[in-house]
C-alpha cells in the first residue's frame, strides 16, 4: 500500500485551502498519509490539518522556509519523502508547479503534473491529465518506484475534516542546496483584495477586452453583489485592463465555480480550458457567433455596458 506525503501550502501563517485538494487525492488513493507543513507559522498552522485523518502532520518553521522558493523547500521535501513515502502530492498552484518537478528530479522520480483524476488498481496508480488546452485527456502511469504528482484544485474537491487529531511532529530542515543561496526573494507585489481567491470562489465574474478601461467599473458592483472573485481573459490582461494574476485559462488559473459569468469574452480555446468545468456558465456578449455561447448554459446577446448594470439592478430586486 502506498504511503503518501501531502505537501501543504501556507499563506500568512495559515494552510491554504488548496492543500485540502491534495488531501482529497491522498484519501482517494487510500492508505496512510502524512502532511508536511513548511514555512513561517508552520507549527501553529499544522493544527489546521490535524483533523483530516493524517497519520502525522510534520512541520518546520525553519528560516530556510521564510519564502516559498523551490530551491529552499525542495531538499527538505525530498528528505522527508525519503523516510518511506512512495507518493508525493502537492496541489498544482503556482507554488506546487514550481516545487514538484524539482522534488521529482531530486528523488529520481517520475512526475505527473496537474492531474484531474486518479485510478487505483491494486498497487498501481493511473493518472488522468488534461492536455491540448483541455481538448484531450491522457491516462498515464509513472514507471519509477517513487511518484510525484500535482493535482488540479478544481478537480479534487476540498476535503472535509474527518475528526481525530493527528500527532504533530517537528521535522528538521535539510541542508541548503547549492542553488538556494543563488536565489533571493525581494518582494511580493500583490493587490490586496477582499474578494475570495479565484481558485476557491463559488462565483466568478470574468471580463474580456471589450470592457476596456471600464473593466473594474463594470464588473465590481456585480462581483460584490454575488460575493464573486473577478477573473479576466488573456486579452484583457495583455491590454492592461486587468492585472495578470486574474487571468483564467490554459496558462492562467483554472477555475470550476458553481457559477461563471463571462462578460465580453469571445471564448478562445485557451480561455475555455480554464473555465469549462464550471457548473453553470453565463455568457454576455454582443456577438451572437462568439464561441463562448457554445459552452454557455445561458447566453445573452447584448451590449454589456447596458446589460451588466441592468443585471445588478435586477439582482437587487428580490
Amino acid at each position: 500500500m502506498s504511503r503518501i506525503l501531502v505537501v501543504a501550502e501556507l499563506a500568512d501563517g495559515h494552510i491554504r485551502k488548496s492543500t485540502l485538494s491534495a488531501i482529497t487525492f491522498a484519501k482517494q488513493v487510500g492508505g496512510p498519509f502524512s502532511v508536511l507543513v513548511l514555512g513561517p507559522g508552520a507549527k501553529t498552522a499544522a493544527s489546521e490539518v490535524a483533523a483530516f485523518g493524517a497519520q502525522s502532520v510534520l512541520a518546520s518553521d525553519d528560516s530556510a522556509f521564510e519564502h516559498p522558493l523551490a530551491e529552499c523547500y525542495g531538499p527538505t521535501v525530498a528528505a522527508v519523502a525519503n523516510t518511506g513515502f512512495d507518493v508525493i502530492v502537492v496541489t498544482a498552484s503556482s507554488f506546487g508547479k514550481d516545487l514538484a518537478p524539482r522534488v521529482a528530479a531530486k528523488l529520481g522520480a517520475g512526475y505527473a503534473p496537474d492531474i484531474s483524476a486518479v485510478k487505483v488498481d491494486g498497487a498501481s496508480l493511473s493518472f488522468k491529465r488534461p492536455m491540448y488546452a483541455g481538448n484531450a485527456y491522457g491516462w498515464c502511469k509513472i514507471t519509477t518506484p517513487v511518484q510525484v504528482v500535482s493535482v488540479r484544485q478544481s478537480e479534487f474537491a476540498a476535503g472535509e475534516p474527518s475528526g481525530g487529531s493527528s500527532p504533530i511532529e517537528n521535522v528538521a530542515a535539510a541542508p541548503l542546496s547549492a542553488a538556494a543561496p543563488r536565489v533571493e526573494f525581494m518582494r511580493l507585489e500583490a493587490a490586496k483584495s477582499e474578494r475570495p481567491d479565484l481558485g476557491e470562489a463559488r462565483v466568478v465574474v470574468s471580463g474580456g477586452r471589450a470592457l476596456k478601461e471600464k473593466f473594474a467599473e463594470v464588473l465590481e458592483p456585480l462581483a460584490t453583489l454575488l460575493s464573486a472573485a473577478i477573473g479576466a481573459s488573456r486579452a484583457a490582461c495583455d491590454a492592461g485592463y486587468a492585472p495578470p494574476e486574474l487571468q483564467v485559462g490554459q496558462t492562467g488559473r483554472v477555475v470550476a465555480p458553481q457559477l461563471y459569468v463571462a462578460i465580453g469574452i469571445s471564448g478562445a480555446i485557451q480561455h475555455l480550458a480554464g473555465m469549462k468545468g464550471s457548473k453553470v456558465i453565463v455568457a454576455i456578449n454582443k456577438d451572437p457567433d462568439a464561441p463562448i455561447f457554445q459552452v454557455a448554459d445561458y447566453g445573452l446577446v447584448a451590449d454589456l455596458f447596458t446589460a451588466v448594470p441592468e443585471l445588478v439592478t435586477e439582482l437587487k430586486k428580490s
Partner: protein, 275 residues
C-alpha cells in the same frame, strides 16, 4: 551573455479543438505545425537580453536554440535563427521516445557541453501542458530557477531580477547566473525585458519580432548541428507512460435568453445558483 533556448514544435494551438482522439493516440497531423508560443517568447526574450535595441542586428551575446524532434522540426530552428539566434542543435527523437524528464536530462547534457549563463524556455509546452522541463533541468544542474517570468531585468549580466507571475500577484526574485528562467505570456510586452545594453526607457513592439526575407535566407547558412539523444544522456528511459486517451466530456450549448430579467429568473429557479 550566452543563452540556451530549448524549443518545441507543436500543433497549431488555436485549433487544438480539431485534434483527433482515439484510445491509443492523439492525432494532430491535420493541424499546422507551429513553434510552442511560450518558446517563441523565450527566443524573443533571449534576443532582447543580448542586444542594444538601437542596433538589433548586432548580437552582444550568443543565443543557441535546441529542439528535440525529427528532421522536419529543423524548420522551427531555422525560423528562430532567422529572427536572430546564432546557431542551433537538433536532437534526433520522436515525441513517443521522449517525456519531459528525458528532455531535461538531455538538456543537462547539452548545458554541460555548452556552459551557457542562462537557459531560457517557455513555462509550458501547449500540447502536454505539463509545466516541468525548466524546473527539472534546474534541479539536475543544481541551478536556481525563476519560473513564470513576466519581467526580467539584467544586472550586469551577472544576475537577473525576475518578476514571477504567481497566483497572488508578482513575486520578484533575484537569481545569480547561471540559472534557468521559464517565461510567461507578459514577457514580450514593451518594457518587460531590460538588458544591460538597451536604454531602460526603450519600448519594444509588443510580441515577438518577425524575420526579414534577407534574414530568412541568411539563416539557412547558420550552423545547425544534429545530435543523438545518447550523445547527451546515457539513460534514455521514460518515467511516464501514457496508456490511453479520451476526449473531454462534451458540454452542450445552452439557451440564448431574451432579457436580463429572464436570465436572473433562470439562475434563481432553474439553475438555482443564486438566491
Amino acid at each position: 551573455m550566452k543563452i540556451l533556448v530549448p524549443l518545441k514544435r507543436v500543433a497549431d494551438p488555436d485549433n487544438a479543438n480539431k485534434i483527433k482522439i482515439s484510445p491509443n493516440k492523439i492525432d494532430s497531423s491535420g493541424l499546422e505545425p507551429k513553434p510552442n508560443p511560450f518558446d517563441e517568447y523565450a527566443v524573443e526574450t533571449a534576443l532582447r537580453l543580448t542586444e542594444n535595441a538601437a542596433t538589433p542586428k548586432q548580437r552582444l551575446g550568443e543565443v543557441i536554440v535546441v529542439t528535440f524532434g525529427p528532421k522536419d522540426t529543423e524548420q522551427t530552428l531555422r525560423a528562430a535563427l532567422a529572427t536572430g539566434a546564432d546557431r542551433a542543435y537538433r536532437v534526433d527523437a520522436t515525441d513517443d521516445q521522449l517525456d519531459g524528464d528525458l528532455v531535461a536530462r538531455g538538456l543537462k547534457g547539452l548545458v554541460d557541453k555548452e556552459q551557457p549563463d542562462l537557459v531560457l524556455l517557455g513555462k509550458q509546452e501547449v500540447e502536454g501542458d505539463a509545466n516541468q522541463v525548466g524546473q527539472l533541468l534546474a534541479e539536475y544542474l543544481g541551478w536556481p530557477q525563476a519560473t513564470f517570468a513576466g519581467s526580467i531585468k539584467s544586472e550586469g549580466d551577472k544576475a537577473l531580477v525576475v518578476g514571477r507571475e504567481v497566483d497572488g500577484g508578482s513575486m520578484v526574485v533575484k537569481v545569480t547566473l547561471p540559472a534557468v528562467v521559464t517565461v510567461d505570456l507578459r514577457i514580450v510586452s514593451p518594457h518587460a525585458v531590460q538588458s544591460m545594453h538597451t536604454k531602460a526607457e526603450h519600448a519594444y513592439q509588443d510580441g515577438v519580432r518577425f524575420a526579414a526575407l534577407m534574414a530568412i535566407m541568411a539563416a539557412k547558412k547558420k550552423p545547425l548541428v544534429e545530435l543523438k539523444l545518447s550523445d547527451l544522456t546515457s539513460d534514455t528511459s521514460l518515467k511516464i507512460q501514457y496508456t490511453s486517451f479520451e476526449p473531454p466530456a462534451g458540454r452542450k450549448a445552452g439557451v440564448k435568453l431574451k432579457s436580463v430579467a429572464e436570465l436572473v429568473q433562470k439562475l434563481r429557479t432553474e439553475a438555482k445558483v443564486i438566491s
